[in-house]
Symmetry: C2
Subunit: 210 residues, 2 copies
Amino acid sequence: MTVPGLRERKKQHTRDALLRAALELFTTKGYEETTVDEIVEAVDVSQRTFFRHFAGKQEAAFAVQEMVETRFMRALCERPAGEAPFAALRGAVLGSWDAVGESIEAVVPVELHMRTYRMIESTPSLLAVHLRRSIEMEEQIAGVIAEREGVDLATDPRPRVAVAAFSGVMRVTGRMWGAGEEISVDSIRAITESYLDHLGPALAEDWRKA
Amino acid sequence: MTVPGLRERKKQHTRDALLRAALELFTTKGYEETTVDEIVEAVDVSQRTFFRHFAGKQEAAFAVQEMVETRFMRALCERPAGEAPFAALRGAVLGSWDAVGESIEAVVPVELHMRTYRMIESTPSLLAVHLRRSIEMEEQIAGVIAEREGVDLATDPRPRVAVAAFSGVMRVTGRMWGAGEEISVDSIRAITESYLDHLGPALAEDWRKA
DNA sequence: GAGATTAGAGTCAGTCGCTGACACTTGACA
DNA sequence: TGTCAAGTGTCAGCGACTGACTCTAATCTC
């Protein structure tokens, strides 16, 4: 991967600065209490620039989540074709936990992301969007799983069921991460692992054999 | 119940008019495409009046839902104490279906409410709020069930699990109602009943005996 | 029944999120 | 070196929403 040009780097730099400033303000002052003007003032750019990088205030709040989810989806798509659906999901989530840490840190401190997560869950308007994003992602995952297994998503309920169960665990995991005091990425990884182990047996059977 | 005074009746009248106009515009022009100015112009009141009756555009979109939910919660609380949790939920939802029809019709045509439901599910920003409202209501229901059964919501997962399953059925039912062409209240009642019958056996056991 | 009270509605000015149009600056590239 | 275009700034404006004030008319009190 070649180093992008100066222009591109500058652009990325202002975007990162805006994102950090936004999340910092959101998590300290509160989301609703933070105005876009305050964010751009902290970075010393025009308001118009903010809206060129982010479709809206909300998008800034979910920018890191977006990164994490993208990374997870990529990891899922790269799982070996032979793996059973649940094993693939498990492998993708555990595999991406590691990479996520560094990946986030390159843009914002992980600790800031933790605070952001907590903020999203405690801000009604953001919680609403978060839930919608969740079910949209479940639908995407179900699509991938259905394709992997060669089943028809329209008639076979198993992909959606498996994903719903899996997402439930991920949701709980995420909430625990957000709620906990000072949980390391390692410990959340361990919890995720144990929760998924619990859920596994019910879903691990090979659909093509059964 | 005594007839409210003239002032109160006038107030209710403008509120109802605003609600009808809002839902009519939302469902024909689309939610995002409808401005508050258009709504108040249709009723010929000031914009300020709209915001005195509704906290925002969104609240108008969910006003009828709110009525339905309130009615359901009341019905649930009035179920006989001896009933098993699932029977109580079933009784409350089926019992409230009937009353809901008339109750809605007093404010807006039921057909308009159907269209509104469809609109909510197909408008991203409203879908988000809808999902949040749903989980908030699930939490309320779980609280009622836990109290009825005398179990501790903090330690016993059964109320939430039962409610989650129940709500899943209600969600599907609602979606079918919204998606269907011209479904009567009677037919939706029948579907609800059959779906709940399917789910029942797994939840009907008496928790205090088991 | 006349006057005081007060709830509901109107007016106006202003904030905040967000967008379109246009001009400017400065990397990129021939 | 000069052209092109991407990234940014400026400005004007819309739509959701709020606070402060006024006016009108239903209600309450004597």
